[in-house]
């Protein structure tokens, strides 16, 4: 089949992982299960045809492809309950999926099972501006929440770069961050309450509508649990009021090192920008042809900096930003003069990952966090690791949070290249952890990094987390083989199988 150049987008795409095939869930009575699901949803929202199933073998991650046994599209909490009950009776795993833009393989079905797409649950159920919250279904697109309330001067703060496409349910699963995380925090800081369908079919309402609820913070537990505890069917999100003013600036630098030092200095200066993003030269090369924001193609690195607040405070903060950038040899500091220009700057940033198809047929996106003071040092290491493996690296990331996204464009069809990409990525991740950082900034663990969990958690830590999951999901029905170390993992393939497969002429 070598005629087909692009075999798959997935990095860890494997055909020979015999053990994984052995682990695949066996459905005893497929017909009865299908019928049970059809009773709940009707026949047009239960899919079993290969041409339907194969479109759910991937998500945004490109880490691993796997075809589900069935795909269902419920439209309400009651229908989700029906699906969960049928799955439990047939002992078949459930894998919830939002918009399929996730970057850690959280929505794929490594051992098969029922993929529960929440894409049809996309209604904004209730907006209460006086009390600043909205109740939404999990399939609502992140940006649509803001669109629904921005006319009144409000917004929903967590804004991943994929916010025009990713769903609130997916954000809740991964505790997603965004470009304004620096000032506003991550998803968990903006979810007030949840409706959760548990694996036993019961419906629980967690949290409430206020800032703090008595008792254990179960909402906080579910946010970031990556669909391993139950299926979220309603989310109460906090709405925030727009600030008086905003100023968006570009600091244009000759090198990533200078820009990284400017980030560390801005944070150390005590001002609080709402966003502080790094955009390097390769990123500009990829996005400028599509966005046309007028970013210079010859700059080594650009910082996208935003300050918000009352007008006087903005002037003062912007002055400090300007000064710090110039002190770190910025060759130019630009200020967006119009709302349109501001929008173009942001579009350049947010289109970055999607534009990677312009650089190479495949890309592998890393996500890790380091203490911000370590940023200049870790950036040098990232560049060095890529160089050593003969790979390019694109750096476009949330610099202000110390949240790195080294992105490696590559061609899966080039012999040995996938293996080098995985090896380099692992080294970058290890360097971040060694610098006092963490495995993931915002993309989640999923099936991509579950086997790295022991890098940052002890065996007893992991055991405690497993027991917590078991309290919700004693039979491991919900999104199995994710988050916790397991035989099914992209990381596993990276570290152990890749060389062997490569040696035997197989392609990973």
């Amino acid at each position: 089949m070598s005629i087909v150049r692009s075999a798959s987008k997935a990095v860890c795409y494997t055909q020979s992982a015999v053990q994984l095939a052995d682990l695949r869930h066996r459905i005893e009575d497929r017909t009865a299960l299908t019928r049970a699901l059809q009773e709940v949803l009707g026949s047009d929202r239960v899919f079993t045809h290969p041409a339907d199933l194969i479109a759910y073998e991937y998500d945004g991650a490109q880490v691993l492809n796997a075809i589900p046994d069935l795909v269902v599209l419920p439209g309400s909490t009651e229908e989700v309950v029906g699906v969960v009950n049928a799955a439990r009776r047939h002992r078949v795993p459930l894998i919830p999926r939002g918009a399929g833009t996730g970057l850690s393989g959280g929505a794929i079905t490594p051992i098969g099972g029922i993929l529960v797409s929440l894409a049809r649950m996309k209604r904004i159920l209730h907006v209460d501006l006086d009390n600043r919250y909205a109740v939404v279904q999990p399939g609502v697109i992140n940006l649509d929440v803001t669109k629904a309330v921005e006319g009144s001067g409000y917004f929903y703060a967590p804004d991943p770069s994929s916010q025009s496409a990713c769903s609130i349910g997916g954000n809740v699963a991964n505790n997603s961050g965004g470009v304004h995380t620096l000032a506003f925090g991550v998803t968990t800081n903006h979810v007030l309450g949840l409706t959760l369908v548990l694996p036993d079919g019961s419906v629980e309402r967690l949290g409430g509508r206020g800032a703090d609820d008595p008792g254990l913070d179960l909402t906080g537990l579910v946010v970031g649990s990556e669909g391993t505890l139950g299926i979220v069917t309603e989310v109460t999100v906090r709405l925030m009021r727009r600030r008086e003013g905003v100023r968006t600036m570009l600091g244009i630098f000759g090198t990533i090192a200078e820009a990284s030092q400017a980030v560390a200095d801005i944070i150390a200066s005590g001002i609080a920008p709402t966003a502080l993003e790094m955009i390097d030269q390769l990123t500009v090369e990829a996005v400028e042809p599509v966005v046309h924001a007028g970013l210079p193609l010859d700059a080594g690195a650009i910082l996208l900096i935003e300050v918000e607040g009352v007008h006087d405070a903005i002037d003062r903060s912007a002055g400090i930003v300007d000064e710090v950038c110039r002190k770190n040899r910025a060759r130019e500091v630009r200020v967006a003069r119009t709302e349109e220009e501001r929008h173009l700057y942001w579009e350049s940033r947010k289109s970055a990952f999607g534009a990677m198809g312009r650089l190479a047929p495949n890309y592998y996106l890393n996500d890790a966090v380091v203490p911000r003071s370590q940023l200049p040092a870790i950036m040098r290491q990232v560049v060095e690791i890529a160089r050593r493996h003969g790979l390019r690296v694109v750096n476009v990331f949330h610099a202000g949070d110390g949240n790195l996204h080294p992105l490696i464009p590559y061609d899966a069809a080039a012999p040995g290249e996938s293996g080098r990409v995985l090896k380099a990525s692992e080294e970058m991740l290890a360097a971040c952890v060694a610098a006092g950082g963490s495995l993931s900034g915002e993309h989640g663990i999923g099936i991509e990094k579950n086997n790295y969990m022991p890098w940052i958690f002890s065996a007893s830590d992991l055991d405690a987390q497993r027991r917590l999951k078991a309290a919700f999901d004693p039979t491991d029905l919900m999104n199995p083989f994710k988050v916790f170390p397991s035989p099914v993992s992209c990381g596993e393939l990276m570290t152990r199988r890749a060389p062997r497969l490569a040696a035997s002429g197989l392609w990973i």
Binding site: A51, A66, D69, L506
Partner: protein, 445 residues
């Protein structure tokens, strides 16, 4: 390289022969980010990955690799697509989805029941390329419409339901077709350019007055207008329905007709024709005799709004009092990236108020013959559009493409809105006429 397996069992076995010619390089550009999904009209109503651009690309790739066969289900997913190309506008990686879906449809051929396929194929091969036969067909249809044979046949249940539905979508065939008395129309005032007019198939049959209005507006703008007799339909419908070879033949004929006429530009007043014409270069890339000519041809093509805004629009324009909303035809905004020019032209007309509608660049559900082959989805999409139109409170919807005009007009009838549909060029023509008679603004509807 054994790459055809995944971890899955269902559908994991190689189920078909790979189709290497379908493994087009454009597929590689998609990195599955999913940014296209919320902009896809069919994904919006169905929520299925298989009815999204990302899903369809993945299915096509799977077919190319022989992982799944071309079967009825695959065909359905390929043909539920409107071909509106809204996904292309938002794709950060610049995937040309139109090229991909056309390649897939070329493998499948026309869709529908065996009878419907035969009928579509017959029309695409033996009707569309021949203006004379098209005119004859339309004349017969007009006779049928006026004879009430249809009413009688329907009353007696002699017409299958599906056919009756399709018939209801047909507009009344007008009295007059576009048959210009001569090939060349002189410029009014000093000649600044010699331009060709692509008269189009549907435009010539159903909208003769718009072609005439286009000629008048161009002449007022110092253009000598040529309507080459040798031209034929642009072949957009053939391309969208998997009839690629016939489309190539039609493209060659237009290239000969227009390049032979020695024009400075080829002006097109139908968005769908403009989009197809601008892609002749890709269509004939591997034709040694025509590749270079096709590139020249595509470079000459201009949508009429694009053409008029590239030059300084001549005055004087009289008043047209109307509250207008603008529907972006997919093949103008997504196919050709033309968003600003038609709005700028509308704003030049004194007395005209432009009100933007929610989702103006979202498909209305017409999409070539989509409303005929997928009536249920088409109607669902149209409903959303009508709600948006209603919210603007506009008197007129401007939609410079025949398919959109027919679809929106049928929506307005069905939903009882008091709105009218007009082509941009029609309003410009009216404004010029009003500019000639002082105070002579007429009722826009």
């Amino acid at each position: 390289m054994p790459t055809d397996q995944t971890l899955g069992s269902a559908g994991a076995e190689p189920a078909a022969q790979p189709i290497p010619r379908l493994a087009i390089p454009e597929l590689d550009r998609c990195i599955q980010c999913g940014f296209c999904l919320p902009h896809c009209p069919t994904y919006r109503i169905l929520g299925m990955e298989t009815e999204s651009p990302r899903g369809r690309i993945h299915l096509i790739e799977a077919v190319a690799q022989g992982r799944i066969p071309i079967d009825a289900r695959f065909e359905e997913h390929m043909y539920v697509c409107l071909g509106c190309r809204a996904c292309e506008t938002v794709c950060p990686s610049g995937v040309k989805f139109g090229t991909i879906i056309e390649a897939a449809r070329a493998e499948i051929g026309p869709t529908g029941s065996p009878a419907a396929r035969r009928l579509t194929r017959l029309a695409l091969r033996h009707l569309m390329p021949f203006p004379g036969r098209l005119r004859l067909g339309a004349a017969l249809l007009r006779l049928y419409q006026r004879s009430r044979v249809g009413t009688l046949a329907r009353a007696l249940h002699l017409v299958p339901r599906r056919l009756a539905e399709m018939e209801a979508l047909l507009p009344p065939i007008p009295d007059r077709f576009f048959t210009p008395p001569r090939e060349v129309f002189p410029a009014i005032g000093p000649r600044r350019a010699r331009v060709g007019l692509l008269s189009g198939c549907v435009m010539s049959l159903l909208f003769a007055d718009l072609n005439e209005a286009t000629i008048r507006v161009l002449r007022r703008n110092g253009c000598e207008v040529v309507v080459p007799r040798g031209q034929t339909c642009c072949a957009a419908l053939n391309l969208h329905n998997g009839e690629r070879e016939r489309a190539r033949a039609m493209a060659r004929r237009n290239i000969d007709a227009f390049l032979g006429a020695g024009v400075d530009a080829i002006v097109i007043n139908a968005a769908g024709c403009g989009s197809a014409s601008k892609e002749y270069d890709a269509l004939l890339r591997d034709d040694p005799d025509y590749a270079e000519k096709a590139t020249r041809y595509s470079r000459l093509c201009r949508d009429v709004s694009e053409f008029l805004m590239e030059r300084d629009l001549a005055g004087p324009l009289g008043e047209v009092r109307a509250r207008v909303t603008y529907q972006d035809p997919c093949h103008l905004v997504h196919g050709q990236g033309i968003r600003r020019q038609p709005r700028d032209l509308l704003r030049r007309i004194p007395g005209l108020e432009l009100v933007e509608m929610e989702g103006s660049d979202r498909c209305c559900g017409s999409a070539g013959i989509y409303n005929l082959v997928q009536p249920a989805y088409s109607r669902q999409i149209l409903e959303e559009k009508m709600a948006a139109v209603k919210q603007t409170g506009a008197d007129l919807v401007v939609a410079p493409n025949p398919g959109c005009m027919l679809q929106i007009a049928s929506g307005i009838r069905a939903f009882g809105l008091g709105t009218h549909v007009r082509h941009l060029i029609d309003l410009l023509d009216q404004a010029y006429a009003a500019g000639e008679r002082p105070g002579g603004a007429r009722d826009p509807a």
